[in-house]
Symmetry: D3
Subunit: 238 residues, 6 copies
């Protein structure tokens, strides 16, 4: 029934390739099927002005799409002169999600910037970004530990990963690709941690409001998908 | 236990005052306690370029805060030269929520712009905005009906209203004010329709991930709060 | 003869409501007929860089119109990405006018920002803004005095208020509303102080140049109108 | 008494040199003492969108200062990414003033843009700009007449010129240079037409409000100065 | 002598991988050693306004660097709100170079946009971009030919490729990497065509002016390097 | 054969007028025929942040065109809100060229900004700007020496001047005017120093790639032209 012939609870093929950019303290090229995102983690020994002198660090994210990541060429935001609303929304989500599992005091007065650049988009770019960002961030922490930069213990408290679910042709399905996403009645993104708790839910009725029952079906699928993604993260960083 | 001495499932005093700006086709001054938002609905006989000639209309929203709506003066976005990420996120949410209950074909090839301007902010500006926006939009439709502008039947398919819930001092509470919001462990905004269905959920772990159980407690409170808000909308437009 | 049936030297009903925004150190909701402006005064213990260390403070103003303050919706300046020429001109006028009656040395090294946001516009928004701004500023000074913040004496040296006059259907009239303003041959804004002196004159031939005689008639009307406005300010702050 | 040893009612040496840029339909290099402004008039067979199809044309102005027109280098507005408030205010004044003596219907559906670029600034750049702009515009009309472009008669209805006056060391003086302007208690710009009428007054209390008597003294000086400037315009275009 | 131990006339390992982005009409992932650039060619059936109705098409280019393509993270241009001077200069060079070998009339009234996004930068990003852009453009033309889109014959008239040369430690060397580039006395970029002619030279004295003799040595190296690059292009598209 | 009837190796009449703006530390009004550029050099006792504390100064340049410097009015960059690509490219070239003959250590921790504003454009504005900029910079250094500001010896190490050459109707010609430039097959700008060395070459195939032979003919012409321009500089500053 799904255009990709996947089972309703089946993820696309996922890969998490580490160390893909030689300069970055951590990096991951993440693929969820035909959605490809390059994620880097950059450590800087400076903080945004409003955070100085508080004894803790910061993790933030920026997101972008290459102009031809999409079926039709999308205008380059640098040339348009500003980031669109969707971009801003996604990069805020990525940063917020990562911070929920980072001990900012243990990190110390430093900033880590996660850059997520979409090379090819086929639905789920934000969930792939978050899932890959965790790997890049973990590698950045490893890099820092090797240089003995943490006095206050391990800053990474848990895994997080993200997946989208939706109601497609009246059925709850896991990990929507673009063909499904553009037709779905409801679209929800779930960010969850390794201990099974919820970090963020963004659920939207694309066409008509949905019932609590439908929502709980999506949540159950998400839990299953995130569990598998976290297993893949564990294998990647092992 | 709550700073405002409210019960855990108690809304702040809510008022929905209609017809407050003489030029607008619909308007509502909405108060959720000390959160005050002026909402107007403006009808324009033109569409965004990408929507022309498709036989349907559009509902969109813009959001702003007056500089001194907040405890400390916030920089005016018009003078900063751009809308911040939070503003963009909120106005996209308001527009999307309203569209989920509007029949855009029945509306015809016209655009309605909902402007939500926060006069005073004490937590929950986005949920107050959505709740008031429904009233302003309903009045705009009444204005249009009086001019016999709908050929294809009633464009408003249902009520929507919104409320925030959160985990505050380890307890699920309804309709957070600023004092609670700034301390909450988890913050969730729910937009629901008159038939009890869900339009949008945005749930965020402010500090640490939350459990599914906690989330369901918030959802139950939200359902109760939205029910009361919709009753108030019905009284307002009666 | 006037669309509003007012006498040539008759102001619209004016009201000056204080204390309308709970956070601001001073605020005033000013109405000149259907022109409604919300004014707040915000005290900040910081100065623009070019003024630091000179032993004196600063009073500045920002002006904005809500999108549906006007008969047709006006584009939101924050979304357009810049303030228009008219906005800039008006906010410079408001700031300059207020500074002419403030002893900046007595104020001390602090900045007060006056925000004038037009809720509904029916002509004379800049004159209503200035008249209300004086009240908000006076309340801000009262707030500061209550906290013993002035070492160098009273910073407010006099009242100021403002009114527009114009030549409408060949007759000089006081306090133009929009219906008159859009038809007037000449339009002049006068800012005057409590001792009857002039703070600012901006007189413009909308269609054809005007004579000195006509100008003096406008000036006489303005003096009368400003006198009444200052009486109302005195009652408001009493 | 004046730093320049001029009489109180004495203009600086004024020159109006025509035809200084080979491409422009009209141009004038105007000097008021050490204030030097290059003005060009550019004819374009197109109109701003909001004016199309109304059977009349438009005259507008833009103003700029070269970065080193001033004693200290001023930041280039093109590199700052926007025009400052003072620039916007001045260019609106120039355009408005010129339109008050142009018959826009006689002009036909065309736009003339007046560019005023300050090469060297020593006070009075806006009044020099307006005075020179009239010459550039007159030459542009001559160019158009030579090509038989006016069906509806002569579009220029009268001369206009502008001069500043101020209260300097308690005395009313004509045509302030920078040394006077920066010390003046009151500063007023007057735009007047050839028949002795007023086009625009912008009078500002720089330090303390001024009396009606003082204002009338400035107006009398302005009338004298503008008379001389218009004589010079007549000689220039003869 | 060279940090990379290459011969003075030795290119870095070069690879040209085609078809790397599934949506683009042509694409190439080009590597000059550690400099990696993703190039896509996007066909659009529209033209910039100034080119409409002239019976010919357009080829243009945009260039960007991912924030962590560099040793230190570079600010994202989309978030800075504008493209820097270096970016603008490079993308103009790429577009101009490609147009020198394209028959725009044969292309027809269409635009091809070449996007060059630098994934990793180690010197020579502009020369790698041009060399890879030719491949992406050639593939785009092949795609179009397969759809019978050319009535007026083959639009590609010749190969072009580009390479940098420089005077490093007083010796002329080919294809500078970053370690050399940052130390070079002179830096020159050469774009040449398949028939051995010159498309563009940009030669810059980084520290002190250079002699004609030195320049001719660089030109000779460039000719050799470009010859090899064009051989590689031929193999890639074969 | 040339539209201006010049010999192939003949410059346009060149003049270099010094001291044209009273405030600037150095200035030059340079004319290459009908191309007129006003150049000023502004000394500031501050440095860009990235250069602080390194014991050396900086020379930078900004370039602009007055809107009616061109045959058709060009949009004012300050009002467009950004500098175009061509502007950025030219101002980077001017700054880079001047720095190649300045001893930045001898200059000391100061910045000199060269402003090149084109009053009238008839081809070759960048080469005229560089040639005049050298004169303005030399005068600025003279001004500084008179104030004994150089401890470390003379900062100006040599002359530089610039000229364009091109292939016009199949013949190499010197110093293209606009009529030639718009028709030329190849266009090259050469910046050279007083000792005959090369500072910068920018050669572009406007229509088709050019041969090495053609390029060498242009280079020979440039050498001749720059020699004459440097003679004129020497006479100007004598």
């Amino acid at each position: 029934m799904r255009p990709s012939r996947r089972q309703v609870d089946e993820l696309r093929p996922v890969s998490l390739e580490r160390g893909v950019v030689k300069y970055a303290e951590g990096s991951c090229f993440v693929k969820f099927g035909d959605t490809h995102v390059l994620v880097t983690a950059s450590l800087e020994e400076r903080l945004p002005p409003w955070l100085k002198g508080q004894g803790r660090g910061w993790v933030t994210a920026e997101y972008g799409m290459l102009p031809r990541a999409t079926s039709e060429r999308t205008r380059r935001e640098a040339s348009a002169g500003k980031q669109g609303g969707r971009t801003v929304e996604i990069q805020r989500l990525i940063g917020r999600s990562l911070r929920s599992v980072v001990d900012l005091v243990a990190l110390g007065e430093r900033q880590i910037t996660i850059d997520c650049d979409v090379i090819q988009a086929d639905g789920g770019t934000r969930t792939a970004s978050i899932t890959g960002a965790w790997v890049a961030l973990a590698d950045c922490f490893t890099w820092m530990k090797a240089r003995d930069m943490f006095k206050g213990g391990e800053p990474m408290r848990d895994h997080i990963a993200a997946v989208s679910c939706g109601v497609y042709k009246n059925t709850a399905v896991l990990d929507l690709d673009y063909a499904e996403d553009s037709e779905a009645e409801t679209d929800a993104n779930f960010v969850m941690s390794g201990n099974g708790n919820i970090v963020e839910i963004q659920a939207t009725a694309e066409k008509t409001p949905f019932s609590e029952e439908q929502f709980l079906a999506l949540l159950a699928l998400a839990r299953k998908g995130v569990g598998k993604l976290i297993d893949l993260q564990k294998m990647a960083v092992a």
